[in-house]
């Protein structure tokens, strides 16, 4: 950890000296925030679910044809090891028709809020489940991104992610570690999980965007890795009878599209992707390693509406496994919905927000109700609650994790 911090500090010093040399021509922008974040579980004995202080810094230098950006961050915890890392660090080169971005970067695709269907370039940090702000959930990837603009309304985007970065799962012992039931005592072997920093292990993404007054449309394709590892299971007898579980990431290809358009006073938006050859867990004893390979379709349709100071947004999300077979652990069709209602009050000094996920298959839900108060510019005080309903499913499994929390943030 100490070596990592020293390396990052040295890097930032080098970056700042380089920036200083450029300042005569263009001013360096320095922004960021400091935040205190405390959450307490509502169930006795009311343990802290999170007790974190954050320093987030952004350095940006931009000329007409050239740009630099660095986003180091530091999470200081009361009860666990601190985290100090760089979320993004890249160079931009801009021409009339082309944009090049090279380095560690977050890349966001799609039209959906809070679900990741075509938004598959940056993997996810699920250390705190889905409760972080989304720019803190997405992990930066080392990539080369090229945008070509043959016309102002058209954009071709090509991305090469040099080496595979998987999503981060909650740590062992975390309250966010998912429920995992095994028929026999498990023994984990992680030796196959790392893909290795090899040229051939890269990921490729392509997107075409059309932006018109009547609609924004994106077509996408990807040759990537499944960010979530498949669990290869096989029986063992030594040292004791049980299951050997070997997590392994597999190649995944997909094709999809997203769109948005205005209909009367509504914004209609959606995205969908067809995934080729994902490995699914199965109880079929004839299946190799308890896995079976199937395509699936995942899509979302959303509707937004603003009425005076109220904002309403709802989404319906469905996942369908193609060629479903009995024994697959997941349901053939999985339905989910989200609802967002927010309102600004007192000249935008107060904002109330309700955001909820509703799982139909397991009849579970996550309700996030929070209020923001802005006592002065750049200062926000957020009080909120996260309530998990149901007993199983993506949200119901955390039904003992209901919490209240506060976040105080100063931006500069």
């Amino acid at each position: 950890m100490k070596t990592r911090i020293i390396s990052i500090v040295a890097l930032l010093f080098a970056f700042s000296f380089f920036i200083k040399a450029q300042e005569a021509e263009q001013k360096l922008e320095t922004n960021g925030f400091i935040r205190n974040y405390m959450g307490v579980l509502t169930a006795p004995p009311n343990k802290f679910s999170i007790n974190q202080n954050t320093l987030n810094l952004e350095f940006k230098l931009q000329t007409e044809k050239f740009g630099l950006y660095a986003n180091p961050y530091y999470y200081q915890y009361a009860d666990q090891e601190d985290v100090f890392d760089i979320r993004e660090l890249y160079i931009d080169l801009v021409t009339d028709k082309f944009d090049f971005r090279i380095g560690k970067q977050q890349i966001v695709w799609g039209q959906a809020d809070g679900v990741f269907i075509t938004d598959i370039v940056s993997p996810l940090d699920l250390t705190d489940f889905l409760l972080r702000d989304f720019n803190e959930i997405r992990i930066g990837v080392n990539a080369v991104k090229v945008n070509y603009y043959p016309h102002n309304d058209h954009n071709f985007e090509m991305i090469w992610v040099q080496s595979f970065t998987p999503s981060i799962s909650p740590q062992e012992g975390s309250i966010w570690q998912p429920d995992m039931d095994f028929m026999a005592p498990p023994t984990f072997d992680y030796s196959n999980q790392t893909r290795g920093n090899i040229f051939g292990n890269g990921e490729f993404f392509a997107k075409y965007s059309l932006s018109k007054s009547w609609a924004d449309i994106q077509l996408i394709g990807a040759y990537t890795w499944d960010d979530a590892p498949s669990l290869h299971m096989s029986p063992i007898t030594d040292p004791t009878p049980g299951l050997l579980i070997q997590p392994e990431h597999h190649r995944l290809s997909l094709a999809g599209m997203s769109f948005n358009t205005q209909i009367a006073d509504f914004i209609l938006r959606g995205e969908g992707a067809y995934y080729f050859g994902k490995y699914w867990q199965t109880t079929d004893i004839s299946a190799n390693d308890a896995l079976i390979k199937k395509d699936y379709l995942n899509y979302v349709v959303g509707l937004d509406k603003t009425v005076r100071d109220w904002k309403f947004s709802s989404q319906f999300i469905q996942k369908r496994i193609n060629g479903y077979e009995k024994g697959i652990y997941n349901d053939e069709i999985d339905n989910l919905a989200t609802l967002l209602v927010s309102r600004s009050l007192f000249r935008e000094t107060v904002r109330l927000e309700w955001f909820s996920y509703h799982g139909f298959n397991d009849e579970d839900a996550l309700i996030r109700f929070r209020g923001f108060y802005y006592p002065q510019d750049a200062v926000s005080i957020e009080l909120g609650t996260n309530i998990f309903l149901g007993t199983e499913g993506a949200f119901g499994q955390y039904n003992t994790n209901d919490m209240i929390y506060s976040r105080i943030k100063y931006s500069f």
């Binding site: 702000d133 102002n152 965007s209 932006s211 205005q262 009425v307 005076r308």
Partner: protein, 256 residues
Amino acid sequence: MKKYKIIILLALVGTMGVSNALAQTGNEIADKVFNRSAPENGESDMTMALINSKGKERQRFLHQFFKDYGDTEKSTMFFKSPADVKNTSFMNYSYDDDRDDDQWLYLPALKKVKRISGGSKDDYFMGSDFTYEDMEKRNPNKDLHKLLKTETLNGETCYVVESTPKEEGQYSKRVAWVIKDKWIPLKIEFYDEDEELLKILSITEYEKLVGYWIIVTQEMENVQREHKTVIGLTNINIENGIGDTYFTQRAMIKGL
């Protein structure tokens, strides 16, 4: 439609929409205010100060670009401060026909351009005392007008015109002081549905740039809520041939 971006620059020329009360004079006033020549493109910095009854002030700094394409007006606004909204950008296309505006918002925290639906015209713009309708280029045919008198205000000879909407709106009437020969509304009073004075718009600074009268500083005071908003423009650069690329999602993401 919400033609607020050019209107912010040119400032509320159409909000009183004067026309035919005192025979030909009213019509001439209406036509000349509504059709006052305006630049086809430009940019400026904009400061918006929100001041409450205790004098506490909050400020927003933006940079705006606009361009008139004939049947479509396009604008892009970039937020420069406060820090928590810095690099947020907003793009608006408004159309001469009856189509609603198209609007997009880029939030740097989400790294995503979202198409957004326009709110009601009586929504307040960014927590200010200006509603979207206040900033719209209001067609004079929507109101009945009455020329009340001629009066001197701030050393300028003004026509004082009362405008009453033909259809029910957020105001029961407006009374405007229009500078003779310049066709700028120097002051406008807005009355609520109970015909009580609600807001007063005052133009405190204007100047002629490249042959156009440009309102540089204006103040909207809500006398009922004891709150006011002061909008000031600086670094005004008009008819400078702004490129089409400023009105794209690429520009929104790239920022200033």
